[in-house]
Symmetry: D2
Amino acid sequence: MSTAPAAHATTRSAEEQARFERGLREMFEQHISFNQLLGLKIVSLQPGDVRGRFAMKPELVGHFTYGRLHGGVISSVLDAMAGLALMVAIAERHPQESAAQVMHRFARMGTIDLRIDFLRQGLGQHFDASAKVTRLGGRIGSAQMALHNDGGELIATGAASFVVS
Amino acid sequence: MSTAPAAHATTRSAEEQARFERGLREMFEQHISFNQLLGLKIVSLQPGDVRGRFAMKPELVGHFTYGRLHGGVISSVLDAMAGLALMVAIAERHPQESAAQVMHRFARMGTIDLRIDFLRQGLGQHFDASAKVTRLGGRIGSAQMALHNDGGELIATGAASFVVS
Amino acid sequence: MSTAPAAHATTRSAEEQARFERGLREMFEQHISFNQLLGLKIVSLQPGDVRGRFAMKPELVGHFTYGRLHGGVISSVLDAMAGLALMVAIAERHPQESAAQVMHRFARMGTIDLRIDFLRQGLGQHFDASAKVTRLGGRIGSAQMALHNDGGELIATGAASFVVS
Amino acid sequence: MSTAPAAHATTRSAEEQARFERGLREMFEQHISFNQLLGLKIVSLQPGDVRGRFAMKPELVGHFTYGRLHGGVISSVLDAMAGLALMVAIAERHPQESAAQVMHRFARMGTIDLRIDFLRQGLGQHFDASAKVTRLGGRIGSAQMALHNDGGELIATGAASFVVS
């Protein structure tokens, strides 16, 4: 926590942090084809406040008669958001690492298991997904997730465990 | 279980059973847009042996570098298979109901919650998904699910609870 | 939400509310033998703020060498707290019912399924357990739970679904 | 898999295997106070067939009126059985290690998270618990568990993830 010059060497520069965030955003929104299909966009990458948003569209509906979000979409989004929140926490945990080094950790991360609670019908024009890290150890990371619709209703919650490194 | 004439009134005819299976197949494969997107096809609708299959394709991949099935695809497929297994069990439980009556129960069914364990990387040419019912009560149904790749490896397992009626 | 005299008929009196809380406390702390064994006591029965506490004691330890809370104790406590939070929410939902009528609903309530995340070692002199209701429908109730130690560390989280009526 | 003399050096002797099983049994039944409280006894330690049994007794009942097994007992037993099945699989995976070395791995093992499905009322004179390993990696182990009563009814199922080493 020292602000003395020596500490500079072990803190990611603003430039490097911006590079990390750009890389994470690009990977998340464009390279994960499923997220691209969903149209899932990052809204906040602040540690402790990781959020995303996506708009309703016909391909995301379960049964055409009801116009509700498909359960698989909800599971996918909340799984992805948990991974994103862990990436942000990992970057904060390793401030001396370059953007490339932190992104390399992403390649070795994976969901161990996932629970989703489908609480209310997924009706809305757009949906906000958030995740918070409840544990970040050397081998295991855990997160809790939530999905709200544009009316502020809690549509689903989730919990997930990840392998991290 | 009698085959005497009197039983006919309380047993779905072979014709009606075929109508139910056609309806279920059509609803599952064509009307659930997400299943259509996945290309998920029913392989068996036998009570106690409900199975589906889908082929790998680029849209189902998580990160393009690795060529593995996206976790959201696995969650979606196993959730859908659990619902299908419960529908088959509900039809068997109510042999006196017409195909239309049983299908009507589907509209009132919903996943309460879901757990998925991602055990091995989703690599393969095609994948087999199965589900078995562990409880079918008047209000709650439960199922266990599994996903294997074409090499017979266990890729994922799941457990889900449903509201049924 | 009217405070006019006519509303009195449909609102539980302060006396009746106190009777409900006494009944709930007695049932929870004394009639559920496992809670009694754990020494689990109710701290708050306010809607939206349901909390309990128990002290560490040798019988609650997993392996004697480590002195950590046994995982089964954590699961039991969080399951019990979820049920308690749902009972409080049910009582609030049915303000016209007597204490006896609400307590009767308890007898028909049951845990459908439970997830527990064991985040940190269960070390401490005492532990605080809390639960919040995320859904209360006519048939299904859901809750999220948390366990903290006396140092404020998050030891475990949970999610549970219940049959309610 | 050779039976040639050279293999002896890398295979646990029958004597050493018996020592491991005695150690595991003693640790499981006597040193884990909660298991001792439950009266949980190991029935089989065969790889792929790990089973335990315990008798109903008043302390294990949830609410005295109903005489059903407390949910926390079910969670505890299934968590413990999953850990036991993983220990057996770990011992099989490392045949060159002594009993002491394998037991040492137990000290570093821990449940990451747990799901329990409460399917039927826990009524019976005694209960049989079983667990099978669905994954054993270098860092993560997974298992599925089941509890049957003495009438062969499926009372509960479970899934759990563990840190292993």
